[in-house]
Point group: C2
């Protein structure tokens, strides 16, 4: 059988298998043997394409980040014209575990993030923390833009608010994954906060403003 084979494709096949396990049985169940079985290959092959488990995890994390990024931009596009507001909405709702795909992604991501907490290997100079950092500054930028446009109150600190929104979304995600509430409820909580942040810019009162529901 040993035809010359496409390494990248094989690695992807195995990496995806790991992600599938991570989002169903949890990352701690993603043992070498389990991944091999899920990918339909032998244990030896997993070792062959990823010399060590850490390399496998790292590659899978990269694939996951890829999918996550793709979902975020798809979510933004789906909201119509690209404005600061749609970017913020799209980004945050994309990473909230509401439908099947986002549950999958969030579960897997949480697994990796959890690994970060107590890995002596430091997960390759904590790659995990750079992703949220980028998201945060991106959000801050667009909140500031919305502020310029008068969609957001002037006394709002974009950086602090971006951090808060992201932390809120992560916290909501955890509560959904932990079974404390369902995705729809989490979505409602997030929408409430977002609606409170993005209000119309005409009036003097901050009460009775337009409530957004999508």
């Amino acid at each position: 059988m040993p035809k010359r084979v496409d390494h990248e494709q094989r690695r992807r096949q195995i990496g995806e298998a790991l992600l599938r396990i991570a989002s169903t049985r949890g990352l701690q169940s993603a043992t070498m043997r389990e991944v091999a079985a899920e990918a339909g290959v032998s244990l030896r092959l997993v070792q062959y394409y990823f010399h060590t488990k850490e390399q496998l995890l790292l590659a899978a994390l990269a694939y996951l980040a890829e999918q996550l990024t793709e979902r975020v931009s798809a979510s933004i596009r789906a909201l119509g014209p690209v404005t600061a507001r749609t970017i913020v909405y799209g980004t945050l709702t994309a990473v909230l575990p509401t439908d099947e795909e986002s549950v999958r992604l969030t579960r897997a991501y949480t697994g990796f993030y959890t690994l970060l907490f107590s890995s002596e290997a430091e997960m390759a100079t904590r790659h995990g923390a750079t992703y949220p950092d980028k998201l945060e500054s991106l959000l801050a930028t667009h909140i500031a833009a919305a502020q310029e446009a008068g969609e957001v109150a002037a006394d709002v600190d974009p950086a602090l608010t971006a951090a808060a929104l992201l932390a809120l979304t992560n916290g909501l995600g955890s509560s959904v994954l932990g079974g404390q509430r369902d995705g729809a409820t989490a979505r409602r909580i997030l929408d409430d906060q977002l609606g409170r942040l993005f209000h119309v810019n005409d009036a003097n009162s901050d009460e009775g403003l337009v409530r957004r529901d999508e």
Copy 2:
């Protein structure tokens, strides 16, 4: 040596040892042998007082909840007269990992919460989720009270807001534990949101209001 010994004290000694490990090396390092060593007893003793590891974890979780509750009420008391506002502030800032003790507690708690995500044993009818639920309804009650007193805008939904604040705090805690930012910054983000929620009830404008820093 076999004097008649106080079981509850021994169990506590061992349970605290587990918590100590959970908040330093992480819960996944809390093996039976490690706990025994940390507690300064033999492996056999750990087995003697807790027939199985799950029982040990459950007991330790109970101790942790105890300490957490104690810290929350201490934090509320430290804020002076007990009002709806001090309760909300005190509760949320107590569980945010800012000082050494809260880092310890939060780390340990996160470990257990993480275990919840993917334990087939379901951690004894998911005891973990009841605690946040109680906190949430408690917060909602006091936000509603503050609303009655005019300290909170009338269009705020107490339940949604309580959930959001708790999720925000949890998310911030995760980011601190994950090394994304330090406790002081997290505290600033939380304070910003709380200050925005509890505003003075006299004026017409929502800009330039009193910024709380403690």
